[in-house]
């Protein structure tokens, strides 16, 4: 390839605005070379520079006594005691997955795992948060099938269990699916590695796959809206090689264990460019690389291409010269080639040579420090405001409420996700104490008595109607799920998926969501330790619903005290912790049964939320509960049904009486927050009530566990469903759509 001249058109193709280009000229004091232009363009892309979001992300609380590393590194780190740390992060791979679902999702999983093991942690948990258009569209089936296959193909091969996640279907994702991947690893608390190119004179070592022309401009692609022909943007697709990554993982951990490194960073989006810039920038040093030494897969690659390639499964390491040989030997053992491609300098320059000839020279620190940062205009739109109005009197209560529950259990947002998680190895490493299928999954931490509970959550319909409340709810629900597994919520990572930030109404959604999330984080004591922003999730000007996904991590001091959501024992008493309010806005029920996406989403009283969580957690910790399940989509009725029909069985019914004068559909299917259904043995009732009293959480007796039916009495009506019938509907819905198979 011939290097083109730097014209206005070329600058524009690189996504740099005229002002941004001016800034490049100021920093360099001259015209950039083509390679330099490429470097600036990726480093200042939305994806790498967070130029539209940085200002607002500062609002997140990021500190806490247990936080070892907050946002800014490759992943967040918290102290979990016993000398150990949990290292975790979530990241999006939306655009690549839409173009090539298998490889897009696979490389997303590969990328997030590198972010975690780059810090010295062994990945032990994967989760994924997915959004697609409705499955009635064959193309969405194709996307779901490929994405799940890709996640499984990569994660299973790596031997990292995928133990949880979430998935929703809505028309707004038709042209823009979301694939967010989460990884958590365990490291020694005093053995965390960071991406620092410290110590002038140290060597820079390249390991992993050879560099090809993969994904060049992938990062800028993630920062552009889809136009109709974006499916044509094909050659940039990257192919994952999980076997290579497994070798890299083992070799890197071995090198780290022997303490041979000064710094290390994976080559993710923007490959060699961002890893070298960031490592030098953090350490305040310079880095000099000779691209002629970089292992290549294709012929005739020019420096620009080598710097911008997004070939997967590559790492950049900095080490003292004396350690070089030992490092090479370890990689050799794993059949990997480690190649010294440069050195750390003291002049603060990112200097790129090609066989001795200089092709780029940029002050490393300035790329980051002087990256553009925008306070984009944000304002609520009229249509946005109008969505929140809802006149409940116009919504008739259906006559057949028994049928409504069946319909809700059959909707793909509520139905069993078994067809998905069955394709993921969720047991490898033999730590998974609570398998997928309950509110949160739990792993034990080998060598300790502890456990970790994890959950990802976001109801984007709420965020669409009121991003502030939706953001709060995402955090609260994730924490609540973790609490229902018996854990104390510790910290979270996020993946903020939004439309085009240059539109004031989208920017408004973003700002509101971040502020809502921040408020909930403060109230619940769960700082944000890492995260990712994905903008420009639009097709033909239509944005997705704002989807700020939360990945919450909780700690169990005694893993034997884990909790699951399903009923265990006949005659257990059923209680609702929390209160049901007269709320229909934003509910699944309102959309599925009445075809309306409107209204004020359920309010969240953070103080009450905290008390509900505290009560449930304390009761589990004291061994008082037999089950705990929070109410989310589909409300109390769906939550009760799930308590009956999930789990390994035998499946128990329940007799419930709801003494309340709310409208029956709100009572059954409204989605009031801060509610948890618990079951409890007679002998433990007093102790349980005592906790609720002390903490100040409202509790209501609902009825008893037992029998083969779920029966609900309310306002003189008596509703009844055989559990087996509900179970079949729930298990069948997604599987049948994807395989055309019927279950027994």
């Amino acid at each position: 390839m011939q290097e083109p001249a730097i014209t206005e058109e070329v600058i524009e193709q690189h996504g740099l605005s005229p002002e941004e280009y001016e800034r490049v000229l100021t920093i360099l004091g001259r015209q950039p070379t083509f390679t330099e232009l490429g470097i600036f363009s990726v480093m200042w892309s939305e994806h790498c520079s967070y130029k539209s979001s940085r200002l607002h992300l500062k609002k997140f609380p990021t500190e806490g006594a247990h936080v070892i590393e907050g946002p800014g590194e490759n992943a967040g780190v918290i102290d979990i005691g016993d000398g150990l740390a949990a290292v975790f992060k979530m990241e999006s791979h939306n655009h690549p997955s839409f173009i090539e679902p298998y490889q897009g999702a696979a490389t997303g999983v590969g990328g997030i795992m590198r972010d975690v093991f780059t810090m010295g942690a062994r990945p032990v948990v994967n989760m994924n948060s997915l959004r697609f258009g409705k499955l009635s569209e064959p193309h969405n089936q194709y996307l779901l099938d490929g994405v799940v296959d890709g996640i499984a193909g990569y994660g299973n091969c790596m031997g990292v269990p995928t133990i949880g996640g979430e998935i929703y279907f809505s028309d707004c994702y038709n042209g823009n699916c979301l694939v967010n991947a989460f990884t958590l690893g365990i490291a020694k608390a005093d053995g965390i590695f960071r991406g620092y190119a410290s110590g002038p004179g140290n060597v820079v070592i390249y390991v992993g796959s050879k560099t090809g022309r993969d994904g060049i401009h992938g990062v800028t692609m993630a920062s552009e809206e889809f136009v109709d022909d974006s499916e044509q943007k094909k050659p940039t697709v990257q192919v994952g090689d999980p076997f290579m990554e497994k070798l890299l993982l083992e070799a890197c951990l071995e090198v780290m264990k022997k303490n041979l490194l000064v710094g290390i960073q994976d080559m993710g989006g923007a490959g060699l460019t961002s890893s070298s810039c960031e490592m030098a920038g953090r350490a305040g040093t310079g880095v000099e690389l000779d691209l002629a030494l970089v292992p290549r897969r294709e012929e005739g690659m020019i420096p620009y291409e080598i710097m911008l390639s997004e070939s997967q499964e590559r790492m950049l390491m900095v080490a003292e010269k004396e350690k070089e040989e030992e490092i090479h030997a370890i990689f050799k053992k794993w059949d990997l080639e480690a190649v010294t491609i440069g050195r750390v300098t003291d002049d603060g320059m990112l200097r790129i040579l090609d066989g001795g000839k200089q092709v780029a020279e940029i002050p490393a620190l300035k790329i980051a420090q002087q990256a553009p940062k925008y306070d984009r205009p944000h304002a609520e739109s009229e249509t946005q405001r109008a969505r929140r109005s809802l006149d409940p009197s116009g919504i008739a209560v259906p006559d057949d409420l028994e049928e409504v529950l069946k319909i809700l259990l059959d909707t793909h947002n509520i139905a069993d996700k078994e067809w998905i998680f069955e394709q993921y190895d969720h047991m490898v490493r033999t730590n998974t104490v609570v398998l997928p299928g309950s509110d949160a999954a739990v792993i034990r931490v080998k060598g300790t008595k502890k456990g970790l509970a994890v959950s990802t959550d976001c109801n984007s319909r709420y965020c669409y109607l009121d991003p502030y409340v939706g953001g709060m709810n995402a955090v609260a629900e994730a924490a609540r799920n973790v609490v229902c597994a018996g854990a104390r919520p510790m910290a979270l990572t996020d993946c903020l998926n939004f439309g085009n930030p240059e539109k004031p109404e989208i920017m408004w959604q973003f700002v509101q969501a971040v502020e809502g999330m921040s408020a909930a984080c403060r109230a619940l004591g769960t700082p944000v330790v890492s995260g990712n922003v994905s903008f420009y999730n639009e097709t033909r000007g239509e944005a997705i619903w704002p989807t700020p996904t939360v990945g919450m991590v909780g700690l169990l001091h005694d893993v034997r005290r884990f909790m699951t959501q399903w009923f265990k024992k006949e005659k257990d008493a059923l209680f609702l912790v929390g209160e049901t309010l007269d709320e229909l806005g934003g509910s699944e029920y309102l959309e599925v049964i009445h075809g309306q996406v409107r209204g004020q989403p359920p309010v969240l009283d953070l103080e009450k939320e905290r008390k509900v969580q505290e009560t449930v957690r304390a009761a589990i910790e004291q061994g008082l509960l037999h089950s705990a399940h929070d109410c989310s989509e589909g409300g109390l009725a769906v939550a009760l049904a799930e308590c009956c029909l999930t789990g390994p069985g035998p499946h128990l019914g329940a007799q419930v009486t709801l003494d309340d004068d709310l409208r029956p559909d709100a009572l059954l299917f409204g989605e009031s927050q801060s509610r948890v259904v618990v079951s409890i043995e007679d002998k433990d009732l007093d102790a349980f009530k005592e906790i609720a009293n002390r903490v100040g959480a409202p509790i209501t007796f609902l009825g008893l566990v037992g029998g083969k039916d779920l029966k609900i009495e309310l306002q003189g009506r008596s509703l009844q469903w055989p559990v087996e019938v509900l179970r079949k509907i729930h298990r069948h819905a997604i599987r049948h759509h994807m395989t055309h198979d019927t279950l027994d």
């Binding site: 091969c157 794993w334 069955e422 394709q423």
Partner: protein, 229 residues
């Protein structure tokens, strides 16, 4: 007794097996790197699950050439116990130490879930603490567990009482609906003629302690220990 766990590039259940034999059973256990050419002092070798060489080309196809495999063969010829679990089973098939071959699951999907297994024979070193007809709950996790053998081989396996486990329903009936992968005659595990090399797709090491809610798999390891002692 002394267990050896062979580690191929891409093995990922090696540590899980180690956890069971060493930490739960308290037996001496050592990892064996696949480039090892000599083995001595072992009573039982485990070829663990995972994705040796990424399962590229075919499962187990490349691992069978690892230097250690000649030593494994010698060890088995000398009467030593060898157990291949999941990918380990696939490697044993490719290496010709067990008859037959693995195909893709009928669903073409990776499947991870608990299945029911009926114990078909207890007269092996791996099942001597189990009852014939006993039904075990043990998880599977594979994309290529669709066992194939031609009719003659199948007849021989049956005649020589070499089928150890079949996929069944909870009551021990080997129904088609209980077959998770399309395996011939619901076969989940087989043994060689000398009855010292076992290959099985399900993962006993994943259900050998109470915190994981299932200890069924432990009986297979207990059998091995009992046999050696």
């Amino acid at each position: 007794m002394r267990f050896g766990i062979v580690v191929f590039p891409g093995s990922n259940c090696d540590h899980d097996c180690y956890h069971v034999t060493h930490h739960l059973l308290g037996e001496e256990t050592e990892f064996i790197w696949h480039k090892e050419e000599k083995l001595s002092g072992f009573d039982c070798l485990i070829l663990p699950g995972g994705f040796s060489y990424g399962d590229y080309l075919r499962t187990g196809a490349i691992a069978k050439f690892s230097p250690v495999m000649d030593a494994v063969r010698d060890f088995a010829e000398g009467g030593g116990l060898v157990i291949g679990i999941c990918n380990g089973f696939q490697i044993l098939l490719e290496a010709g130490l067990l008859p037959g071959a693995m195909k893709r699951n009928d669903s073409l999907k990776f499947i991870c879930k608990d299945v029911w297994l009926r114990v078909e024979t207890s007269s092996t070193p791996f099942t001597n603490t189990l009852e014939e007809g006993e039904v075990l709950r043990i998880p599977i996790a594979h994309a290529d567990g669709n066992y194939y053998a031609d009719d003659a081989t199948l007849a021989r396996l049956k005649e020589q009482d070499r089928i150890l486990f079949r996929y069944t329903d909870i009551h021990g009936n080997p129904e088609a609906a209980a077959n998770p992968n399309g395996s011939r005659e619901n076969i989940a595990g087989i043994i060689n003629e000398n009855r010292n090399i076992l290959g099985m797709m399900p993962h006993p090491e994943r259900c050998a302690e109470s915190i994981l809610g299932n200890e069924n798999g432990r009986k297979i390891f207990d059998s091995i220990v009992k046999h050696i002692r």
